[in-house]
């Protein structure tokens, strides 16, 4: 009789430990998603700001300026559910404006242009990086949340089901031609 009670107690403790460990794991994964999402937001905002600055600096031709300004403005003002589309449109606008090396050279020659091109290059490289890290965190959290035990016992609490951030983040080829682009290909 006593042995049975001891065994039951051991089993209960073991199950409790496992559940507490899993909940901790989920908590850590959610925190990781939050950090990755904040980093992605920061990079997207940075890219839109640099693009907007370039569009209003008067170094591009008027048509390109308007296209770029529209797209950058759209990306910054987008509602959360429109964000992925607006950011993809900014990527497309950047690719259209910086389609060839000539535009890049022209901007570089303008006063302060080299710094602006440098900032834009950094921004367009880091967006895909941050997005990859974010979506990797989302996948890891989903894998744990799909476990039966986690679903039945609602170990994830009230945290919303994590969603990947899907967008077109291909950087303009003319900006990444001199290497480093391998990081995001």
């Amino acid at each position: 009789m006593t042995t049975t009670i001891i065994w039951v107690a051991v089993a209960v403790v073991a199950v409790g430990l496992y559940l507490s460990w899993t909940a901790g794991r989920l908590d850590r994964l959610h925190a990781r998603i939050d950090a990755a999402r904040a980093a992605l937001d920061a990079q997207l905002l940075r890219r839109a700001s640099v693009a907007q600055e370039l569009a209003t600096a008067g170094v591009l031709d008027p048509a390109a300026s308007i296209v770029l300004y529209e797209a950058a403005h759209g990306a910054r003002q987008a509602e959360p559910d429109q964000r992925e589309v607006a950011e993809s449109e900014l990527s497309q606008a950047l690719r259209a404006v910086f389609a060839d090396g000539e535009t890049v050279t022209e901007v570089r020659e303008a006063p302060g242009g080299t710094a602006a091109v440098g900032e834009l290059t950094q921004a367009v490289r880091r967006v895909p990086m941050a997005r990859r890290f974010h979506n990797d965190a989302v996948r890891a959290a989903r894998a744990v949340r799909d476990h039966r035990v986690v679903r039945w016992l609602r170990l994830a609490g009230h945290a919303p089901f994590p969603m990947a951030f899907e967008m077109d983040d291909e950087p303009p080829g003319a900006l990444t031609a001199d290497g480093g682009a391998t990081a995001v290909r």
Binding site: R32, A42, F133, D136, D178, G179, A183, R185
Partner: protein
């Protein structure tokens, strides 16, 4: 930035991963960052000031060969102490899936963790069995780096998720500025790598040699690397053996001079390569490259634009390509020019910048790296050392 780098393999044994970590640490140090490397090492080995020893590595049979690994309570305790003393902004773990320091630090740390996956092993039984143990540790990694598109594909297939591709770095200037050596010039073919490891492909090159010598009797093969020279040439007709010169192990300087001197560098590796740093070094030194068409090599050589490829393990194809290249100085000059432009993306200035960009992306607004107290049993019952403090500053942030 305070950066902690974890090296899984013994510091006293030379190897690709160790060299990569050494160069990365020195590059980051040069930029003014504080770098500390945790690596297994014998206590007597003299270490550079930035390396902290995690104790002696134990040789154990692992993954088909004998690997020198670190594990056990003593190593785990050293990892914890290093994490605690270092107070790092970010830690960068190399080969986190190997049962060594990489996995131990992944287990023991929390906070911004970056990991680089170097190898692209085919999925092993041990990996599948260890998956439930690996996954909780690997899911702590905030950013994964693969050294090539090929390595990234294997990583995605085996472990899921995604990674950014950042190639290994090379000090291009060091190789480009090396002084060529007279006696290594004029119709020479270079090979660098372990002689006694068939995977490195020397046997393929030796099989191709009679055909090359038939067309270009003046050609010579220079071989640098560890291994038994006698055994390597035993399949070669006796009169041809003096056309092969063994240089043994060479220093970094001599390696650069050798690559500067040869008319053709041949990389006949037959498999198991995930990157091919030697190809980048050869290209930096201006040696025209002829390599087997492994996935990793094709990528490093820009799908054949920066160096020529031949069908893997095909000695006849190797011989034909080598003869053609040795007789065509214009084509070699063209390859040299293209390679010279192509290698800039592998220079530490670019690669180091990309790695720093990854560090900055994950540390932006994140807390420091700390030891993860939850993996200890005491902490589970709320008895951990600074459990209360730990819990309050890690407190769950609600999602917007």
């Amino acid at each position: 930035m305070r950066i902690g780098i974890v090296c899984p393999y013994s510091w006293d044994v030379p190897g690709g991963v160790q060299f990569h970590i050494r160069d990365l640490a020195e590059h980051l140090n040069g930029l003014g960052h504080e770098v500390s490397v945790l690596a297994p090492a014998d206590d007597e080995t003299p270490l550079p000031p930035y390396v902290v020893s995690a104790g002696r590595a134990v040789p154990v049979p692992y993954n088909g060969s004998v690997a020198r690994l670190n594990f056990g309570f003593l190593s785990a305790a050293r990892v914890r102490r290093w994490l605690h003393d270092g107070n790092f902004d970010v830690i960068h773990i190399h080969e986190p899936a190997s049962p060594s320091l990489g996995l131990l630090s992944c287990w023991a740390a929390q906070g911004p963790i970056v990991a680089t996956f170097h190898t692209s092993n085919p999925r092993s039984r041990a990996m599948i069995a260890a998956y439930p143990i690996l996954q909780p540790a690997l899911e702590k990694i905030s950013a994964r780096i693969a050294v090539s598109e090929y390595a990234r594909r294997t990583l995605v297939e085996h472990l899921g998720g995604d990674a950014v591709v950042i190639p290994n770095g090379v000090d291009v200037g060091f190789f480009a500025a090396a002084e060529p050596k007279k006696e290594w010039q004029n119709g020479t073919i270079g090979f660098i790598g372990r002689i006694d490891e068939p995977r490195k492909g020397l046997p393929v090159l030796i099989r191709a040699l009679p055909k090359i010598l038939a067309e270009r009797p003046g050609a010579r093969l220079l071989v640098a690397g560890r291994g038994d020279a006698e055994e390597a040439v035993q399949d070669l007709p006796r009169e041809m053996r003096d056309r092969v010169e063994f240089l043994g192990m060479v220093s970094d300087e001599d390696k650069a001079r050798l690559l500067r001197s040869v008319d053709l560098y041949v990389a006949p590796n037959t498999g198991g390569e995930s990157f091919g740093i030697i190809l980048v070094e050869a290209m930096s030194a201006g040696a025209p490259v002829l390599a087997s068409d492994l996935d990793a090599f094709a990528q490093v050589l820009d799908q054949g634009a920066a160096g020529e490829l031949f069908a893997n393990e095909d000695a006849d194809a190797l011989a034909a390509a080598a003869v053609r290249l040795l007789g065509d100085p214009a084509r070699r000059a063209e390859l040299r020019d293209r390679a010279g432009a192509h290698v800039r993306r592998f220079d530490w200035s670019v690669v180091g910048g990309d790695i720093l960009a990854v560090y900055e992306t994950v540390t932006d607004g994140a807390a420091h790296v700390a030891t993860d107290e939850r993996t200890r049993l005491r902490a589970r019952f709320g008895l951990g050392r600074d459990d209360a403090a730990d819990r309050s500053d890690r407190g769950y942030r609600p999602r917007r």
